[in-house]
Amino acid sequence: MHSLRNPRRSAAVGVAAVLTLLFGACSAPGASEKAADTPADAAAVSGSDQAGSASPGSTDPIKIAVVDAQSGQLSSLGAWESKGAKLAVDEWNKAGGVNGRQIQLDVFDDQGDPTVGTNIAKKIASEGYIAMIGTSESAVTLAMAPVLAEEKIPNITSGQSPALAELKTSFLFLNGPTSVTYDESLAKHIVDEKGIKKIAMISNNGGYGKGEHDAFLAALSARGVTPVADQVVTMEQKDFSAALTKIREANPDLIFIGSEEVEAGLIVKQARDLGITVPFAGAAPQGTPVYIDTAGAKNVEGTIVSSPYLSNETSDASKKFAEAYKAAYNETAELHGAKAYDGTNIFLTAMKTSNGATGKALADAVRATKYNGLLGDFAFDESGVGIFATSIGVIKDGKLVAAS
């Protein structure tokens, strides 16, 4: 009996298991694929597998894949995105589909993991999806882009990393502005209009945080402003005492955050506990309910946000969208859902105008589509970016409102 408890062997398994967990924390390709497979697989098997290459006159459903994080730390974004995309598709289907063809929307879980994303890209190519509504994780989109370009699958991503635009593949589109636009508008408001020059920065070392850090620093440099502190944290970090105390010693008038919703919220909460009272500023994540809830409404008061979608009240279109979103999911609509809704509508419009084209023809149709969406007037350029402006908002009483 004792031989079964071989100490070396179990120690080896233990170490292997720890390694699995260590890497699993940010990516668990094996396990994840299973999660991603099940719902989509079932749908793919039941649906016609050749729908993508069907001729324009076909009545088969048009297959579109939604790929975003349905699990893991960034899954709140994925949930919003897939809801926005689904809302658009449901509206089109209710109105008779695209040229008489219904749209079949299947959700794949990339877990925020580039490896999983690449596998999914190959999978949707082999299963006849003609377009993809992509994730807000730029790293995943960057990994998927070459596969999708090779397979000629037009896709529109919620990512905002400037690196996406630099790819210049003719199949990748962005459903919002890049970090450069976000942070240029933000720096313009803070430095040029408000005259705040003592600025501290805190950002994480992930794809999004790095992009924000570089874009905002560039925008500051262009104005001759040097940040009084520039702290970088990791995406896994839970305690920010060291970085925040250093920022407190630098005594800034404003702190820029380049981090996702939850971490940014924790940073603000801990900053307030450390006695930092100055306002924060950031891009899209700092306008979301998750950020406000995580930090606490009182703590985020006065946060300056650069966003292409400030609130559901900005226009008639956004009011209508917010109502439909609320009716469908019993949740308040926000930016990420709106972006995915716009992106999906643009693709469906292009499919309609091109009479069910696929591949390069569809990509060209998307590029030619001028769309008046929730985020503004889309007009795509060579790099696949369609929006070049954001508005400045401020959080007042726990709500994001336009800055006066």
Partner: protein, 289 residues
Amino acid sequence: MQVFFQTIVGGLSIGAIYALVAMGFSLVYRTMGLVNFAHGNVVMIGAYVASTFYMTTQLPFAVSMVIAIVVTGLIGVVIEWVLRPLENRDFDLMLIGTIGFGIVLEALATIIWGATGRAVPSPVPAEPLNLLGIRVRTYNLVVLGIAAVAMILLMLFLQRTKRGSAMQAVAMDYEAATAVGIHVGRSNAIAFAIGAGLAALAGGLVGPLLYVSPAMGGTLGIKGFAAAILGGFGSIPGAIVGGLAIGLLDGFAAGQFQGYSEVVVFLVFTALIMIRPTGIFGERTVNRA
């Protein structure tokens, strides 16, 4: 100087959580010789159960915590019950079984509570104490206190009660323990239940500090496991010291190495383990695996 002391305060605060997680790892290990890799996910379940009762049914925080501890304790019993047929047969499969349970728990949490997660308001909303410019959150003092009390209670249970001594006996030599009439399976089940209860304690307490989501078990589990190893795997005081040490290491690495802190933490951890493989309070008697 302020940065130095503030980093210590921050490190100890999160370290107390790691310590509670590490205690659960160590308790199961010292009794069964098994690393329960579902432990981090049990922490997450504990956080969800506690926050659900605290936020939606408006129960007092302490009551919600007790409910969470009971619920996750039952989950611990279920895990042990499922793994029991493997006890004494295939130890490696048991380890992999715990990993499987972890994945199941994460998936279950996503189904029940959704993937988005939630923020939990602090049950101790008082302003932080200000000691010569060093700010200490009152809630963190509560967490540190609870961690200390939990450690003392667990030590008393293991050393002063008959059941605890029986568990010690099983840890040292389970065949001899069986021979003198100790129910090994029951002893293991209790270890799993208490371990899971500790996980719920950690999870419930960490909720208001961090953000509760199905993925939160990952980091807490790894750091807690590292803390248990560093303190001496199987040692209860070691788990506390290891947890606080990992918290401090985390804090200072973050201050010094910024974006590379995670790498530095685990490099230092590896070096420490190479110098002292049994950890700070390593006990040879419990090395049963």
